[in-house]
Symmetry: C2
Subunit: 360 residues, 2 copies
Amino acid sequence: MSFRNFPMVPRVVFGRGSFNQLGEILEPKRQGNKAPFIFLVDDVFRGKVDLISRIPLKHNDKIIYVSAEEEPKTIYVDDIRDDIKKEFKETPSGIIGIGGGTLLDYAKAVALMLTNPGSSADYQGWDLVKHQGVYHVGIPTISGTGAEVSRTTVLTGPERKLGMNSDYTPFDQVVLDPSLLNGIPKNQWFYTGMDCYIHCIESLTGTYLNAFSQSYGEKSLDLCREVYLEKESIDEDSQDKLMMASWHGGMSIAYSQVGVAHAMSYGLSYLLGTKHGVGNCIVFDQLGEFYPEGVKEFKQMVTKHGIDIPKGLCKDLTDDQFDTMIDVALSLVPLWENALGKDWQKTITRKKLRSMYELM
Amino acid sequence: MSFRNFPMVPRVVFGRGSFNQLGEILEPKRQGNKAPFIFLVDDVFRGKVDLISRIPLKHNDKIIYVSAEEEPKTIYVDDIRDDIKKEFKETPSGIIGIGGGTLLDYAKAVALMLTNPGSSADYQGWDLVKHQGVYHVGIPTISGTGAEVSRTTVLTGPERKLGMNSDYTPFDQVVLDPSLLNGIPKNQWFYTGMDCYIHCIESLTGTYLNAFSQSYGEKSLDLCREVYLEKESIDEDSQDKLMMASWHGGMSIAYSQVGVAHAMSYGLSYLLGTKHGVGNCIVFDQLGEFYPEGVKEFKQMVTKHGIDIPKGLCKDLTDDQFDTMIDVALSLVPLWENALGKDWQKTITRKKLRSMYELM
């Protein structure tokens, strides 16, 4: 098809306190008493009774705590899948991800790998997944990445950092409860929100853009500006709007793509394990040449919130290490093509990328 | 559930020329050679080879032309359903609506009535539909109503004008091809677009609003303003943006409601058969008291485009006729409550409505 037939999340509930409806939402999807719901929960919530006690466990349902300290990896996806298969005879009724982009991506990937054979590394790419996954639900507790609405789950594998992009990837259900954003550390709130802001700049200035993606991207950008530039505090309204910014920002990628910041940030992340949100900020801070207006506004937001953007990550790297990052970045062809058009290779040489990485 | 678990259209394709992908989209949904796809097409397209020849007919697939001269009626829904059941032994593979809000509403209603017993009039209301309908696809050829994305299909029945609001109502697939908007008569383009504008004003000023609906409503309103106030001609960009305005405007109703204009316009439509778009314009033109900013801007758009808003519809009506309109309008409790809050009956008396209708 010339135009993508975009899969949208078919069910969404929005509201402060809507997390309390989770039991009611899940019950009709239960495939009998022996097919558990598996809750993948960010392990920062371990012992946080307020959230954990509200997870509606029944029968042999299980919570698995997963660390989001590192970017999601194909080996951990495979491990979680194998553990679930070993412990339960029946295929789970569903996988529920509770956390930020990392947990949401794990939930999507595990749901797919319960019904697709082999390793998740085999499916990094576009439309390689062949079978529908088990029912999967996304519940963001931090907003910005758009993982709750996207058709990818970005994984670091043995050979590359690349998503499992497929029509089977999006969640079957999303619960948007802005009250779950309470208590996020400020740096994290900023870095993850900037992932959304940077998405939008990359999408709106890209060559792939159409009116569908533009309308979502513009609304998301308006909301980011309201949250990060206009408001004086992180109040409830700010949480509500950040959650919607992330949602619309994710949708804006439907017929578009991200660009230079994401391509280079994937390189950093692959080599150094830099987390996605902060990695994007580190890269975007140096991209005034490509996104002059966006970078100017980004710097205003950094200043306003007194955020520390790490510097000097690349100062001691070897030639081989630079080459690795450059290989990863250059492999993301659609991102470069969206950012700079078909002739992107005229501008983006290995030397150019090396000089840019050296600034970070 | 306190918060609605909103059903979204699970598949959408957007693009100029995407209508040509229809065959490819439908084929995987075909339930064998004897289960036809039924195309409900606005009869203004009869003989319009450019569109009709591109409808991908196979096997016993059938085009049924339906007039949109009148608002959709429960008796016609039942008739179309009965004719299909008589002609085909097997349940259709799908129903595809091609046209404006009227045709889209017919497609949704017929799809539901192929699997739910009785008359469509039995299901006018909220959540009365019990069984999933057959696969149904919406392809707008005029934009504004939001019917392509909403969870209702508004029908005039023997006793009321009211939608079949249900989780089964939304389309399974929508094709947004802005090139299908070519050739719309200017008045129609205006009236239908104003349905969207009025939706948004009613939603954004309503008491039901939350951040989800607000973000969609604001974007839709921005796009309406661009199309109807800022642009000097109806170019391709304008068609693209109107299609997205309608989409986001429909989504903005998810957690909101329409208001005074829709409630009163339903009365006009029930009694006089006034079409929905122009009916909303006739009513909204007189609602400066309730929506001062919106009505002011609406009048600017009317003037800019030299549109004729019909007047004097009610000048020769009898008391009984006024009473009928007032009964219909007053029955739409959620609309009044959204517009004016729980105490709406303090302001909205029969006398008040009569005096307002007399201006129209």
